[in-house]
């Protein structure tokens, strides 16, 4: 039957169901109510049943239905189909924890309605438990016609359900869309006074809040935590309570396989003084508190919860609902803009959201499985990582289904696509080297070969690609970072009588492999690098400075005559397509000194001479130091 009513703005209206249905001549003892507002979202409703004769009353579940929802908004769902769970269906033999009279026998029913305009198959299964065992029934499939409602007698439907079983968690796997099947499980005795009910819900979450518990002489709290999700997970239940010393927690943790449940008799936990995961016990004087449920392994969440609070004074066990906690309002990329060097990767790129229940910031990165950029020639993205390809700017986007909640509506998931600017700024390999730009030079030392004094000569670096000392790194001024600092020295090699063997240049003919004999190759060694240093700085937004300094002493000589340098390269990326560099230099006048930026020479000093007098002048006496500053020149951005 259809009937309409109107309600004043901001005013409650009361409709007595018995008054509403009596005129229609209903003979059925069950049914459902469908309320369709002319102004969606403008009203709320609460539904309760009462029987003044035997003192029964109970809040009846009203389900919100979102006509526009689809599976994408229920991203926690299993691939097999839309699934509903009723956590705590009381079975024929009541749990003693319910504190019903011993003779009480419950009659469990499931009320299920297909709201869609087409037939729907429902595969129902009971996961039962008794005081000593637990198990699952084989699945039963029923078909609901379009709009049909059925009342299922659980005992007759599931004949192999053990008689001693006290509770069942009921699952319904449907081939319908979300919100197209609603169901409530209720178990009452034939008087209607004693019983429990549990609505079905598809809600899974990684974070549930708002549960209240009571345990005292008149009350007990029974809770089921189930894994109705997509994979095995770890659940953590945190019971909050307050003592004279302040707030305290009791923590339970358990791994839950798919479809597995954890059953908690809170009164028993308190009375037995069972230690929690941290070894704490409940104070025996505690009678109430709240609790939090977390899925420790999965951000989307796989866990649901059901609770009944028994009241032995009235016989009713009322169910309670926690609030699933999604990610409130906005999720955004923390790095904005993302800066990543070319050929480098930056991670983690993270997404921060706000917990829909606590307003605490939370790491929401795990919700986002798709990552890309607007221009893959500049940067690419993968989960939580940005990869620089070429100098430029683009946008990084992350996309994922994010659970959302409000204070009174169920959780749903929304497709969110936070984005962030991404810059791949110019980067520079800044390399300093000093080298002897001829084939060989005379050294100051001499040795004796066959009774004759011979000046030792040293191998130079010309056409050998070698150096006396070098320092290099990769710097990204706009990111104020550098990496790959390298310092090294070339081998010093001296040669005695007979070298150069070919009369002009040192060659393979000089390499006799016999050390310390003053004939041909004589000795070799590497200088110490410990005095070679680096200072980087980023004094302005688009400027990076690299200062190399050091002293390299030929280990084969016993007089201290080091090559020294103090070279500061200043890089400016104000125009990223045309960066500039200049150098402040201060170095010995021997040998050659060079600074390259991205392989472009920005400074080169070549000595005019290679004779011993000049080398003595430059190195031993450190005369003729070369100092100055180059003009800024454009360098390749790499």
């Amino acid at each position: 039957m259809n009937s309409s009513f109107s309600a004043e703005a901001h005013s409650p209206s009361t409709i007595a169901k018995s008054d509403a249905v009596r005129p229609s001549g209903f003979t059925s003892d069950f049914g459902s109510i469908h309320i369709e507002p002319s102004n969606p979202g403008a009203f709320d409703a609460v539904h309760f049943l009462y029987d003044p004769t035997n003192g029964f009353s109970s809040i009846m579940k009203i389900f919100d239905r979102d006509l526009n929802t689809d599976m994408s908004k229920h991203a926690w769902s299993r691939k097999e189909g839309w699934m509903l769970w009723a956590p705590m269906l009381g079975l024929q033999t009541p749990d003693p924890a319910l504190q019903f009279p011993a003779s009480t026998k419950l009659q469990p029913y499931v009320f299920v309605r297909n709201l869609s305009a087409k037939p729907t198959n429902v595969q129902m299964r009971l996961y039962w438990r008794s005081a000593s065992s637990n198990g699952a029934t084989p699945p039963q499939v029923l078909t609901l016609k379009a709009g049909e409602m059925q009342k299922l007698d659980v005992v007759s439907q599931f004949k192999n359900l053990p008689k001693e079983a006290n509770w069942a968690t009921v699952s319904m796997l449907t081939n319908s869309g979300p919100d197209e099947v609603i169901a409530v499980a209720a178990s009452y005795d034939d008087t209607g006074r004693y019983g429990v009910q549990t609505p079905f819900t598809d809600q899974m979450s990684a974070h549930w809040e708002g549960g209240a518990w009571e345990v005292d002489d008149a009350h007990n709290t029974l809770i089921t935590v189930g894994n109705g999700g997509r994979k095995d997970t770890h659940a953590r239940m945190i019971f909050h309570y307050v003592t004279a010393k302040g707030h305290a927690d009791y923590v339970l943790e358990q791994k839950l396989a798919q479809d597995e449940q954890l059953f908690i008799d809170l009164g028993k936990l308190i009375r037995s003084q069972t230690p929690d995961a941290k070894g704490n016990v409940f104070p025996t004087s505690i009678t109430s508190g709240s609790y939090t449920l977390l899925d420790l392994d999965d951000k989307m969440g796989n866990v649901f919860e059901g609770k009944v609070v028994t009241d032995k004074r009235y016989g009713d066990a009322s169910y309670g609902c926690m609030q699933c906690c999604g990610v409130g309002v906005h999720a955004y990329l923390d790095q904005n803009p993302i800066g990543v060097g070319m050929g480098l990767s930056f991670s983690p790129v993270t997404v921060t959201g706000m917990d829909g229940c606590t307003d605490d910031f939370l790491d929401a990165t795990g919700f986002f499985n798709s990552w890309w950029t607007a221009d893959a020639s500049i940067a690419t993205a993968q989960y939580s990582q940005s990869n620089g390809i070429s100098v430029g700017s683009t946008t990084t986007l992350a996309q994922g289904q994010v659970p959302r909640n409000s204070l009174r509506t169920p959780c749903h998931t929304d497709l969110k696509t936070p984005q962030s600017g991404t810059n791949v700024p110019p980067q520079f390999n800044v390399a300093y080297s000093d080298y002897i730009g001829v084939d060989w030079i005379n050294g100051p030392s001499y040795c004796y070969y066959q009774g004759n004094s011979n000046d030792l000569i040293y191998m130079g670096d010309a056409y050998r690609g070698t150096y006396r000392a070098t320092e290099s790194l990769l710097i990204i001024p706009d990111l104020q970072t550098y990496s790959g600092f390298f310092k090294g020295v070339g081998q010093s090699r001296n040669y005695g009588a007979g070298s150069p063997a070919n009369g002009s240049t040192l060659s393979a003919a000089d390499e006799d492999g016999i050390p310390n004999d003053c004939h041909l190759w004589n000795a070799s060694g590497f200088a110490d690098t410990s005095s070679m240093g680096l200072v980087t700085s980023f004094p302005y937004a688009h400027q990076g400075q690299v200062e190399y300094s050091g002293a390299a002493q030929n280990p084969l000589e016993s007089t201290y005559a080091p090559i020294t340098w103090d070279m500061r390269t200043v890089l400016d990326t104000t125009n990223p397509q045309s960066p500039t560099a200049y150098a402040n230099y201060n170095h010995t006048c021997f040998p050659s000194h060079q600074i390259k930026v991205n392989n472009a020479v920005i400074y080169l000093y070549t000595p005019s001479r290679y004779d011993l007098t000049y080398i003595t002048y430059c190195l031993y006496f450190q005369y003729g130091k070369i100092t100055g500053q180059t003009t800024a020149t454009t360098v390749p951005p790499q």
Partner: protein, 293 residues
């Protein structure tokens, strides 16, 4: 015949005269070269008193004359270089030391400078570290060998605790060259090494010992002890140093070098240097090694 003889005599006389004139010219040229070197240097150092001090490269140009100048002429200029060491201005002292260093590098450097050992040794007593180093260097560069008469002043220098440690390390190496068996040298070295020395100075000592190729076991033991130094740079330098030491010294160090090679916590570069030291002395034979000796 007479004519011929007369002509011949005249010709001979002309040759004699010509030779005499040539010799006179040569003597004049030689003296001028010596005077020129001396005068140029004097002119250079006097300009330190003027408003515009001379530039370094002017000193270089004067020094460039030394290698090609005759010994006698250089000898005449040396007193002016020594005199510069007595001047108040350290820049002038250093210029004098530089000239003496270039003289020392001549093949006759020792002969020219041995008479001036006291002049050079004076540098070791100056407070300026560069001048101390120059004093050691002049001795060290002297060819064909440094004078043993420098030993005393070098030992005194090495044992002082207020001197330039790097120059002292160089002096240590020099002493091992000119007086390797002198017990006073050994004592002085031990005293020097008992001080707290910087990494660079310790490296200079180790390289200095190795570069002399001393066969004195006392100094080999100093190198062996350094193979266990905490600092990897020291271990690397000393492992390399053994590549330059005589075979007897490497034999003495063989167990320590072998231990270094087999130490799994030692750096590969250092192990390679140690291995090379043994290999060069035939103490590690590998199947693909070709003995070139």
């Amino acid at each position: 015949m007479f004519f011929a003889r007369q002509v011949g005599f005249r010709y001979l006389a002309a040759i004699v005269v010509a030779l005499a004139v040539c010799q006179l010219h040569a003597q004049v040229a030689s003296t001028e070269a010596g005077v020129s070197l001396q005068k140029s240097f004097q002119g250079f150092i006097e300009r330190f008193n003027s408003a515009q001090a001379p530039k370094d490269d002017e000193l270089l140009r004067i020094a460039d004359g030394i290698p090609g100048t005759r010994s006698d002429d250089v000898s005449k200029a040396i007193p002016s270089f020594c005199a510069a060491l007595l001047r108040q201005d350290d820049r002038i002292k250093l210029a004098g030391a530089f000239m003496l260093t270039i003289v020392a590098q001549r093949s006759d450097g020792a002969a020219l400078l041995t008479p001036h050992v006291d002049c050079i040794g004076r540098l070791l007593n100056l407070p300026d570290e560069r001048l101390q180093a120059a004093g050691v260097g002049i001795f060290a560069f002297m060819k064909p060998s440094p004078p043993s008469s420098a030993t005393k002043s070098l030992i005194e220098y090495l044992t002082r605790t207020d001197r330039n440690p790097m120059a002292q390390a160089n002096a240590l190496s020099l002493l091992l060259r000119i007086a390797p068996e002198n017990s006073e040298v050994t004592s002085a070295v031990d005293k020097f090494l008992s001080q707290s020395l910087s990494l660079q100075v310790r490296e200079a000592v180790l390289n200095g010992i190795a570069n002399t190729r001393t066969e004195n076991p006392h100094f080999t033991n100093i190198l062996i002890a350094a193979l266990n130094d905490r600092d990897k740079e020291i271990r690397f330098q000393v492992a390399q140093a053994f590549q330059r030491m005589p075979k007897e010294a490497v034999l003495q160090a063989q167990p320590a070098l072998q231990k270094m090679i087999e130490n799994p916590r030692e750096l590969v570069d250092i192990q390679n240097a140690a291995r090379e030291a043994l290999k060069r002395n035939g103490l590690i034979m590998q199947s693909n090694d070709v003995e070139k000796k």
